[in-house]
Symmetry: C2
Subunit: 237 residues, 2 copies
Amino acid sequence: MDDDRPPPAPRIHGTIARKLGIEIVGGIRRPGDILDGEIEASEELGISRTAYREAIRILAAKGLVESRPKAGTRITSRNRWNLLDPDILAWTFEGEPDPQFIVDLFELREVIEPAAAAFAAQRRSDQDLAEMTDALKGMEAFGLADERGRAADQRFHRAILAAAGNEPLTALASTVGAAVSWTTKFKQRRRNLPRDPLPDHRRVHEAIAAKDADGARRTMTDLLRLALTDMELPERE
Amino acid sequence: MDDDRPPPAPRIHGTIARKLGIEIVGGIRRPGDILDGEIEASEELGISRTAYREAIRILAAKGLVESRPKAGTRITSRNRWNLLDPDILAWTFEGEPDPQFIVDLFELREVIEPAAAAFAAQRRSDQDLAEMTDALKGMEAFGLADERGRAADQRFHRAILAAAGNEPLTALASTVGAAVSWTTKFKQRRRNLPRDPLPDHRRVHEAIAAKDADGARRTMTDLLRLALTDMELPERE
DNA sequence: TGTCTCCAATAACTCAGACATAATTAGCCT
DNA sequence: AGGCTAATTATGTCTGAGTTATTGGAGACA
């Protein structure tokens, strides 16, 4: 069910799409800007027009640009961007993301994950629970300072989303869940483990194990709120 | 701030991407399937390899396929698809979408929109409120049987999301909001206006106008729950 | 018999150059 | 001044050749 083959080797079109994508979400290139013509741009980059065009198609598919004959390829306004697209999210965190954006992302998590935890408490299978238990063990074994520990953290949250039994909701997991990982790395950068998040995770786990929907919602809300305050980001006025 | 230029004329690569995308999300082609080679496929479709390849790049950007030299282009497993991508959502509703999927979508709305309504009640500007008022008037004027009325309905929900002041949350609006429109059309198909949804909308509007966050959350929840029961879709067991 | 290394086949990838098409712009006419 | 028309131009499409990354199997070896 899960195709876990090694990712394809990086190709030119993907590389260029990534490069341009980072420049766009990073604000180097701004909405309304018109990119250089295909011939000029491809020569500038030392690649063929074909490869450059395919890169543009990728960006257009994600809503970052729109191109039309004669007018050229222009960067669309931000509200047209698919901010939840995994690639776009990853590109956003390649640069220095706007602190407000991170706050917004956490706010989104505070909306989604408690609800997902409640659903998970109601619908989880024993296998789902076993996956959560295993992930929790991984977090305990390595801690969040370790890369493997962070991976286990992500697995824990993904397992909850999966147990919620709602496909579109789970699709958010790959994006928001990825953001979790980036923000955690972000956090480590400025301070060493401000507080032990493991007890919070255990409480969520217990509630889901007991099929206590309200408890799961509440404990998950607590977990996220504390995680956010630990980030020491600007509060919303 | 909003680039509302006429959409570019349909091009071959977009058309083919759409066609293949519909076949994939519609289940005609299944995960794990390998598409025909570029030469064969492009000849079959009567187009050039270039156009076909660009179509594949679009699908790959949305996570539907993955291609590698020698191995070919294969359809990825569903959990890799960006189900929230506006195009994918639209393609899904081109065919007969799985009823369970629609239920999941409504469930997602019931998670997101009440929270958004609560934020909107706290953060709305007078201009935001004016937009909602205007949209509500549009709904009253035309009713949901009319295309313009449905457009006003969408505007109402979008205005709330926008007033919530959370960009990623708003990004969901273009997808979930679009789904609203499709499901409404879906509903009209089987029965003529089961119940007047306007009073529900007015109550949400009043709560947001009064900056009553809890009230906004509650009334929005009611609105969505009733809208779902009106769909007469299979309940989750 | 099973495992490993190497090699050849293959399909996607990249390139180059030409022609077609659709927006835009300027210019013309009314 | 306004609206139609045609030239301009950047993207779109096509063809055909050459390159590169996987793969699957042949052959060597334990």
